[in-house]
């Protein structure tokens, strides 16, 4: 049920393009924060993982040794916020020797041409 106070009734297609590896820089965590915020506004949210961004959802992350917060379980919680449109670029996986079975969440693996078309179909694109 939507209310007038939090919605103009316009639902836009949002895409967050993840291009950075986790932990080495703050980009991955910051984009994840934006994703969670956008979930509160009932928008049509899409996540893309390309280039080093595919490393964000690599299985088995254990940050105890580096004393940083392991934020990777948050990706598994996204479906609880109705964020289920996750896309991974096949070429990015191949370049890094990462298999679909190495990923911690259900995703749709698409090739670069399909990714190009998907990004082009969005209303709002935020990259990090």
């Amino acid at each position: 049920m939507s209310t007038d106070e939090n919605s103009s009734g316009v639902v836009k297609k949002f895409m967050y393009v993840n291009r950075k590896a986790p932990y080495g820089t703050i980009y991955a965590l910051e984009v994840l924060e934006m994703v969670l915020i956008s979930a509160a506004f009932d928008q049509d949210v899409h996540l893309a993982f390309v280039d080093d961004g595919v490393y964000q959802i690599k299985k088995g992350q254990d940050t105890k040794g580096v004393e940083m917060k392991n934020f990777s379980p948050t990706y598994r919680a996204l479906d609880g916020y109705d964020i289920e449109k996750l896309y991974v670029e096949k070429e990015s996986l191949d370049e890094r020797g990462i298999a679909a079975s190495d990923l911690m969440v259900p995703v749709e693996i698409i090739d670069r041409a399909a990714m190009t078309a998907l990004i082009d179909s969005m209303d709002v694109v935020l990259s990090g």
Binding site: K20, G24, D52, K58, K59, G60, Q61, G65, G97
Partner: protein, 100 residues
């Protein structure tokens, strides 16, 4: 000399800059996002494997595990070390060249 690299080889050219300029027999430590260069099956794996012939190559274990990789996924010829050995390497080599 100890050379350190902490950038992903897919995003920056720091590793390449290091490999093309480090003197033969140097030690090279891959840490933070450079640990991806030490993993098997990547586009840069053959280049890195070749480098283990000319250099002593190390990778920092805690950074590797944070990113979801373990020793079994590290290229042959690369030694996985911890923070204590990182300290030992810096002491042993005196000069550190950080390729940022």
């Amino acid at each position: 000399m100890l050379h350190t690299v902490n950038k992903s080889p897919f995003e920056r050219n720091a590793l390449d800059a290091c490999l093309t300029r480090a003197a033969k027999g140097s030690a090279i430590l891959l840490y933070e996002d450079a640990v991806y260069a030490a993993t098997k099956g990547t586009n840069v794996a053959s280049r890195v494997s070749q480098a283990t012939q000319a250099f002593k190559v190390f990778v920092l274990g805690p950074d590797l595990r944070a990113r979801g990789f373990d020793e079994a996924q590290v290229l042959d010829g690369i030694t996985v070390i911890g923070y204590d050995e990182f300290v030992d390497l810096t002491v042993e080599h005196g000069t550190v060249n950080a390729w940022l």
